[in-house]
C-alpha cells in the first residue's frame, strides 16, 4: 500500500475533507463495535468452554445458546450496574 504524501493532502477540496472526516467517524464506530465483539467473544468463549476440553470445531446448539446467553446477561449486568450507580433502581 503506497503512503499518501503530505503535499497531496493539501490539494484536497473542502467537500472531500468533509467526506473523509465522516468516513473516519463511521469507521471508528465500526471499529469500536468490533473491539467489543472481540472482548465479548474472549470472555464468553472462556466461560462456555470452562472445565471441558475442545473435542471438535463445531458449535452445538447448546454451545451457541450459551454464547448468546453469556453476551445478553453480560449486557444486562452492565445496564444494572449503570442504573444502580445512577440511583434509579
Amino acid at each position: 500500500m503506497s503512503s499518501i504524501s503530505a503535499s497531496a493532502l493539501q490539494n484536497l477540496d473542502e467537500s472531500s475533507r468533509k467526506d473523509i472526516m465522516q468516513f473516519i467517524e463511521a469507521e471508528q464506530s465500526k471499529s469500536k463495535v468490533q473491539m467489543s465483539i472481540h472482548n465479548f467473544t474472549d470472555m464468553c468463549f472462556k466461560k462456555c468452554n470452562a472445565n471441558r476440553p475442545i473435542t471438535n470445531g463445531n458449535l452445538s446448539s447448546s454451545e451457541e445458546q450459551c454464547l448468546t446467553n453469556c453476551l445478553n446477561r453480560f449486557l444486562d449486568t452492565n445496564i444494572k450496574v449503570v442504573q444502580a450507580l445512577q440511583g434509579q433502581q
Binding site: 500500500m1 469507521e27 462456555c48 475442545i54
Partner: protein
C-alpha cells in the same frame, strides 16, 4: 472473508484530470488505506485472542514439540473460536438494534 468487514466500495467512475477529480481520487485512496489498516488491526486482534485462548486450552503441559493431539486441538479450537465470534457478533448487533429501537 466477511469477518473482517471491509467497507470499501469500488472506486466510482473514471479518474478525470480536473482538480475535483484529483481530490476524488485522493479521497478514495485515503479511505481505502484507513479501511485497510482497520482490517489489519481487527485481524491482529483476532489472531491474538485465538492464540491466547487456544494455547490455554490445548497446551496444558508444554513439551519439547507440538504433538499431534495438540495440533488437532488447536485446529478445532480455532474453528470453534471463529464460529463463536460470529455468534457473538450476530447477537450483539441484534441487541444493539433492539436497544436503539427501544430508545426511540
Amino acid at each position: 472473508m466477511a469477518l473482517f468487514g471491509s467497507s470499501t466500495s469500488a472506486a466510482a467512475g473514471t479518474a478525470s484530470t480536473t482538480a475535483g477529480g484529483k481530490s476524488q481520487q485522493l479521497k478514495q485512496e485515503i479511505e481505502n488505506q484507513i479501511s485497510q489498516e482497520l482490517a489489519v488491526a481487527n485481524a491482529t486482534e483476532l489472531v491474538s485472542k485465538i492464540t491466547e485462548n487456544c494455547f490455554e486450552k490445548c497446551i496444558t503441559q508444554p513439551s519439547n514439540i507440538l504433538n499431534g493431539q495438540e495440533d488437532q486441538c488447536i485446529n478445532q479450537c480455532l474453528e470453534k473460536y471463529m464460529r463463536s465470534w460470529n455468534v457473538i457478533s450476530k447477537a450483539y448487533i441484534t441487541r444493539i438494534q433492539q436497544q436503539s429501537a427501544q430508545d426511540k
